[in-house]
Amino acid sequence: MEPKYTIRIFDKERPQILLMPVDIEICELTIAGMCEPSASWTQSSKENIIISFEEILNTRNAILKKYNKNKQNDEIIQLIKLHTQIGQEIINNEYGAFELPTKKEFNWTLGKKVKLLKQKNNSDYAIFIFFRDQYSSTERVIYNIITAVLFPGIIPIGGSQIAFASLVDLNNGEITWFNGYYRSFGDVRDLENARNTVNKLFEEFPG
C-alpha cells in the first residue's frame, strides 16, 4: 500500500497538529489462539507510538497537541465517526478492487464542520491513528516452530499488525494525507522498534 497525499509541505510555519485519541489494542496470542488483551503492553505501545510520532513532527517543525475530551460535543463525535467511515471508503477506493470513477483523484473531505475541532483545540490539522496488534506468547513461538518443522508450508497466525493514519486540514476538512499497512512484524512494545514501525506508517508525511 502506498501513502496518498494532496500536500507535500505544511502551509504554515509551525503548525499545531491535534492528535485524536489513538485507537489501539495490543494482545497476546496464547498457544490456542486466544487473544489475551494486555493492558500494560497497550499502555506502553500507546506511549511509544506517541513519542515516535512527536519525534517525526519535530523533524517537520510541527507541534503535537493532545485531544481534550472534555471539549467534546455531539457534533464532534459525529465528525470522528464520519472520519472512520470515510477511512473505510478510502481503503475500498484507493486500495481495493472497486474504484469509483467519480473519485479518480484523491480528494476526500469531512466538510467545514471540522472548524469545531479547530476552535475547541486550537489546532491547524488533526491526525487520526488506528493500531491493532497481536503478539505471540513464548509458548506459541515454540508451537509455531514445532508446526513449521513437522508441517512445512503452514503459516502460523501470530504477530501481525494492521495500521492506518490520516491527516485532516482543520480549515476546510480535507484529508491531506493518508496511509495504511498490514504486515507481520514490527514490535511497538519497546521504543526502538516502535520508532521503526511509526516511521514506516508515516512515510511521505508532509513537511
Binding site: 464520519l82 472512520t84 470515510i86 473505510q88 469509483l100 473519485k103 492506518f164
Partner: protein, 198 residues
C-alpha cells in the same frame, strides 16, 4: 468483533478479490439516464453506478456507498422482498418481509421500513412525514428517513414508493447527516422528482 476490525477485514477481503470484471462501477454522465429499462431520470451531475448481478438493486454514489447513495430497486412482485439475498441463519431468511400487491399506502412504507431493518444495515431506522407522491404517473408516497449505523453515525434521507400494475417500485436517497446529506440533498430531490417508470 469490533467495528474497526470488521472494516479492515472487509476492506482487505475486497483487496484480495481482484479480477471481477463484471462487478465494477461505471460512470453516469449528466443528462437523461435510463436505468435497466425500468426507470428514466434526469441528473445534473456525474455519478458512479454500481450494479451487483445477484442483487435486486442498483445504486449511484459519488464518495462511496456508506457516505451517500441513491438506490433504485427492481420492481417487486407478490411474495418478493427488497433484499433477496440469503442471510447466514436460515431462520432469519424465513422472516424476510414480503410484498403484497394489495398493500395500502401506509403498508408499503411499513414494508420498506421492515426490509431495511431486516437487512441489519442500520441499528435504528425510522420513517416519518408520509405524503402523497406521484412517481411519474404512478400513485405512491414519499417519506423522510432517519437512521444510525452500528458505529453510531447518523444518516438522513428520503424515499418514494409506489405500486403500478401490481408491482412495487422503490427509490431512496440516504447520506450521512454530517456533511453529505446537506451537500447532496438538493440534487437528490431533483433526481427523484424526475423519475418516470418506463
Amino acid at each position: 468483533m469490533s467495528v474497526i476490525k470488521k472494516i479492515f477485514i472487509i476492506s482487505f477481503f475486497l483487496i484480495l478479490i481482484s479480477c471481477q470484471a463484471d462487478k465494477t462501477y461505471i460512470l453516469v454522465e449528466p443528462g437523461k439516464v435510463e436505468i435497466n429499462k425500468i426507470y428514466s431520470v434526469n441528473t445534473n451531475m456525474k455519478w458512479s453506478q454500481f450494479q451487483e448481478r445477484e442483487y435486486n438493486f442498483l445504486f449511484w454514489t459519488v464518495d462511496g456507498y456508506t457516505l451517500q447513495r441513491i438506490v433504485f430497486f427492481k420492481p417487486l412482485e407478490d411474495g418478493q422482498s427488497l433484499f433477496d439475498y440469503d442471510r447466514l441463519f436460515t431462520k432469519e431468511n424465513e422472516k424476510r418481509p414480503t410484498f403484497n400487491s394489495k398493500m395500502n399506502k401506509f403498508e408499503i412504507k411499513e414494508f420498506f421500513e421492515s426490509c431495511i431493518i431486516w437487512s441489519r444495515e442500520f441499528t435504528s431506522f425510522e420513517t416519518t412525514d408520509i405524503k402523497n407522491h406521484k412517481i411519474g404517473e404512478t400513485e405512491g408516497v414519499s417519506f423522510d428517513i432517519k437512521a444510525q449505523n452500528e458505529l453510531g453515525l447518523n444518516y438522513k434521507g428520503f424515499a418514494v414508493v409506489g405500486i403500478k400494475n401490481n408491482k412495487l417500485y422503490s427509490i431512496y436517497f440516504i447520506a450521512t447527516e454530517m456533511e453529505f446529506y446537506d451537500r447532496y440533498k438538493k440534487e437528490a430531490k431533483e433526481i427523484i422528482s424526475s423519475v418516470k417508470i418506463l
